[in-house]
């Protein structure tokens, strides 16, 4: 699989598109997404799986892409923040973050929005405790989280209307 440089081919689905990536097997998936695919919406805040700014959805699970070796992405289905909205139409969670003040400096926002999407897939009407738990892997230094909780609740209400 690996060529003279040591890189391997990784076939995966990213934001609904099939792609084949050339990367070192132990390269961080975060770097592969940002450098090879120019998906810079996925952010690096700490590089050690603490802050969650690099969170993506991988096979339906929320993962820290800074901790995922690129080879683990082979065969995986990946959603980054760029894959959430269709053209100019925002995802219901993105719209709620915009309306409720869920984003301030914005650096944790991609990871936080994906964590909220993942939470609402698992618990469509989450309790406050579930929201706190579901978002606790993403650190935000601006908001104190209150507007983010409000955004999640707003997204629930809005989803209910659309159903």
């Amino acid at each position: 699989m690996s060529d003279a440089t040591g890189k391997i081919s990784i076939a995966c689905t990213v934001n609904g598109k099939r792609v084949t990536l050339r990367a070192f097997p132990m390269e961080r998936l975060l770097d592969v997404l940002r450098s090879n695919l120019h998906l810079t919406g996925t952010k690096e805040g700490c590089g050690e799986g603490e802050c969650g700014a690099c969170s993506i959805l991988m096979n339906g699970e929320l993962v820290n892409s800074c901790l995922v070796p690129a080879l683990h992405a082979d065969g995986a289905s990946i959603t980054t923040i760029e894959g959430l909205s269709l053209g100019d139409a925002l995802h219901v969670v993105q719209r709620a973050f915009l309306e409720c003040g869920g984003a301030q400096c914005g650096i944790c926002t991609p990871g936080m929005v994906l964590a909220a999407v993942n939470l609402l897939e698992r618990a469509p009407s989450p309790t406050e405790a579930q929201i706190r738990e579901g978002l606790s892997g993403i650190l935000c230094r601006c908001t104190g989280y209150m507007r983010i909780f409000e955004s999640v609740l707003q997204a629930c209400r809005a989803s209910g209307i659309h159903k």
Binding site: C46, E50, Q104, C105, G106, T143, Y145
Partner: protein, 741 residues
């Protein structure tokens, strides 16, 4: 069409942020760009004897920059210019930058960084306020003192004799890391022909501009600084970006290539500025009916190895040290001292959280000595409109601290819960308590600072009929873009969507001053409002527009004006409000044009088995003038309170020989979504006549009060008086066990 101010208009750049399209510095790539890194000193103080390059690295591929490569002055120009850009042989703290490296391959670059050996002969060090004051070693100037202030009002020494009680106390606060989630980062393009351009994460483009012009000895027009989307600042991107921009630019200058430098988290936490650790001593004279007679305050900040912003931080801490109280006799002796740690610097609150922590802990103890409740004692001493503050400022604005306190007490259920907890706590290992803090925060630069800054902001019409706000005030999450657009739209009587915000770029926007000191809304927002009114008058005077008008008519008039007469632009320079006077020599006068006032209440549970403290409820009542955008303002205050809860309970910088050893998010603990209570925000609005539509500043206020409110609540819960923060479980365990032995 008007009426955007006061409404929760969604964030101007919010769509880019929620979709991940917003471009932060690390998201930018330039053709041929290489990466830069910093080699730092290995000891806290000493003389460099040799720099060795281990042989396994292909050094010829690297760009290597030392102090000798600096074209101009080897300093980071700020106030005193005492901090070198690169170490010139003398090491004064353990993260001193010694040498810069650049290479296209980031992996090889990191290997190379580790393969440079800085050898040094150690010199004696100083790491504590006590050792620095005692001049155990003189490491800076003649006496280790960066700056000292003496504030005197009345005769403190005459008060001790006539007072009924004298209460003393000492209070300590630790360092705190700003912990913006986007680390510091910068990209530079630089060469002798074109000059120096940097793009990066920052609060103050013109600070960086000043530093680069001095470092490269270049005329102002040869230096350009552009702020990219910035992932939080909190003061941590006030002065430090000048250092990183300087380093990236030196590497770019020497290599002839664009150079990107992004700190990893560990380097960002260890090497960049943090909140000053502090020690405050109080001696207070009070009558038996609870009237303050004298406040004698001794306030010391640990400034780290270089002066940098310490005098200014000390100044704000000093002026806020007597709090929102009237006291006829006040003395504040304050100083910032040198230690062999990286320089401490700007952090939201800027000295006030330290002195207010001490004061508001102490006021609870004075109340107890007098036999009054914390609320009643404060009520008897709150400063009133037309009374004179410790620095001789007659408070002309409407202030009603008693009303703020009454609301906070009522909303939090303070009295009833205090009684209930007192009954329930005995015999229960979970002890609950209520605590409050009363405080204020001055908006804008201290004293004559705004006059010296003489900030300029403007608005211009584009040929498309869109209005662009021109300022160097940065959006760092707090909402600059949104509130400026709201203010300009209302002043012009046009839709919010017709207003754009120019990217802060020193070649394009006027110097509206730094984005610090709770000044952006009140000071720069007012300039934006005035500039917009000026542009409207020009347009009406031209005959191209007649009132009343629609947004479309306004836009068409702009287009016609620009097509027929050229640029349509209005700029305004700061003028102090009438009657504001400050004396830098006596340190007396109008310290701030306006203050935000607040009373906060914390409800806590202390687990006497695990020694953990949890905040269960938090009520924040504040008067901030007109609230420009309620959702943004509420969010900013909630965030400040969350950061202050971390300051009070979790955020412990562990030092070893001047170096932060827990420079990771794994072991430096900030609050997560699971650690915080409901934070409940309430506003009172007394419009300030010289702020835009009546607004004052709010950015720093919320970090001043939570720590003392929480520690006051811990005392109510446990009966034990804790005088230092953070109150980690270890601190609580030691304190409680010492009492119970």
């Amino acid at each position: 069409m008007t009426g955007f101010v006061g409404k929760s208009i969604p964030r101007k750049e919010g769509r880019e942020k929620v979709t991940g399209r917003a471009k932060y510095v690390d998201d930018l790539t330039f053709p041929g760009m290489i990466r830069g890194t910093t080699v730092r000193s290995s000891i806290a103080r000493g003389r460099i004897t040799a720099i060795r390059f281990e042989p396994e690295i292909p050094w010829s591929e690297f760009t290597i920059v030392t102090a000798r490569d600096i074209p101009g002055k080897n300093c980071i120009a700020l106030i005193l210019d005492d901090q070198p850009c690169l170490c010139d042989g003398r090491i004064n703290h353990p993260e001193e930058p010694v040498l810069l490296l650049a290479h296209p391959d980031p992996y090889l670059l990191e290997q190379a960084r580790r393969a440079v050996r800085v050898e040094a002969e150690p010199l004696p060090t100083v790491f504590t306020i006590e050792d620095s004051l005692a001049r155990k070693q003189v490491i800076w100037g003649e006496d280790n003192i960066f700056k000292s202030f003496l504030v005197q009002r009345g005769d403190v020494d005459a008060a001790w004799k006539v007072s009924d009680f004298v209460v003393e106390g000492e209070y300590l606060t630790g360092a705190q890391e700003q912990l913006y989630i986007e680390p510091n980062g910068m990209i530079a393009v630089a060469n002798p022909n074109d000059g120096v351009t940097v793009w990066g994460s920052m609060q103050c483009p013109f600070y960086v501009h000043k530093a680069l012009a001095a470092l490269f000895n270049l005329p102002k027009e040869k230096v350009r600084v552009v702020q990219t989307e910035t992932g939080g600042g909190f003061g941590g991107k006030e002065e430090y970006p000048s250092m990183l921009a300087a380093h990236a630019a030196l590497l770019a200058w020497k290599s002839g290539k664009p150079v990107k430098m992004i700190y990893d988290r560990a380097e960002d936490m260890a090497a960049t500025t943090k909140r000053h650790p502090s020690r405050t001593r109080h001696r207070t004279a009070v009558t038996r009916d609870g009237k303050l007679l004298a406040l004698d305050i001794d306030f010391t900040l640990d400034g780290g190895a270089y002066e940098t912003l310490s005098p200014v931080v000390l100044s704000r801490g000093t002026i806020h040290a007597a709090g929102p109280y009237f006291c006829p006799n006040v003395r504040v002796r304050a100083r910032a001292v040198a230690t062999n740690a990286p320089p401490h610097g700007a952090f939201r609150g800027f000295g006030a959280p330290q002195s207010i922590f001490a004061l508001e802990r102490h006021m609870d103890r004075v109340a107890r000595a007098v036999g009054l409740s914390p609320a009643e004692f404060r009520r008897r001493n709150f400063i009133q409109q037309d009374q004179t503050s410790a620095v001789g400022q007659v408070i002309r604005e409407r202030v009603d601290m008693a009303r703020l306190m009454d609301r906070a007490l009522e909303l939090s259920g303070f009295e009833a819960k205090s009684c209930r907890f007192a009954a329930e706590n005995p015999g229960n290992h979970l002890k609950r308590g209520m605590g409050l803090a009363a405080f204020m925060h001055g908006a804008g630069f201290t004293g004559s600072g705004e006059e010296y800054l003489a900030s300029v902001a403007g608005v211009e019409a584009t040929s498309d009929g869109v209005i662009r706000v021109l300022s160097a005030s940065t959006e760092i999450g707090q909402g600059t873009n949104t509130i400026f657009a709201q203010i300009a739209a209302d002043a012009l009587g046009i839709p919010y969507d017709l207003v754009e915000i120019a990217q802060p770029d020193t070649s394009q926007v006027p110097n509206s001053g730094p984005t610090v000191a709770s000044r952006t809304c009140m000071v720069v927002g007012k300039l934006v409002e005035s500039a917009a009114l000026g542009l409207k008058q020009t347009l009406l005077g031209s005959g191209l527009l007649r009132e009343p008008y629609t947004g479309l008519e306004f836009a068409n008039a702009c287009k016609q004006y620009v097509a027929a007469r050229g640029a349509l632009k209005s700029t305004v320079q700061f003028q102090p409000p009438p009657g504001i006077h400050w004396n830098d020599q006596t340190y007396q006068g109008d310290a701030y044009a306006a203050y935000a006032w607040a009373v906060y209440v914390a409800e806590v549970t202390v687990d006497t088995v695990t020694f953990e403290t949890r905040v269960d409820d938090f009520v924040a009542v504040q008067e901030v003038g007109k609230v420009v955008n309620p959702v943004l303002a509420t969010g900013q205050i909630e965030g400040g309170i969350a950061q202050a809860i971390g300051y009070a309970l979790f955020e412990n910088v562990v030092w070893r020989e001047g170096r932060m050893v827990n420079s990771q998010m794994t072991n430096y603990i900030m609050p997560t979504s699971a650690d915080l209570p409901r934070i409940r925000i309430f506003f009172e609005e007394h419009p300030y006549p010289y702020g835009p539509m009546g607004a004052k500043g709010i950015g720093e206020l919320p970090i001043d009060g939570p720590a003392p409110a929480i520690v006051n609540a811990i005392e109510q819960a446990t009966g034990v008086s804790i005088t230092k923060i953070p109150v980690t479980p270890e601190v609580l365990m030691e304190t409680l066990e010492a009492v119970h032995v």
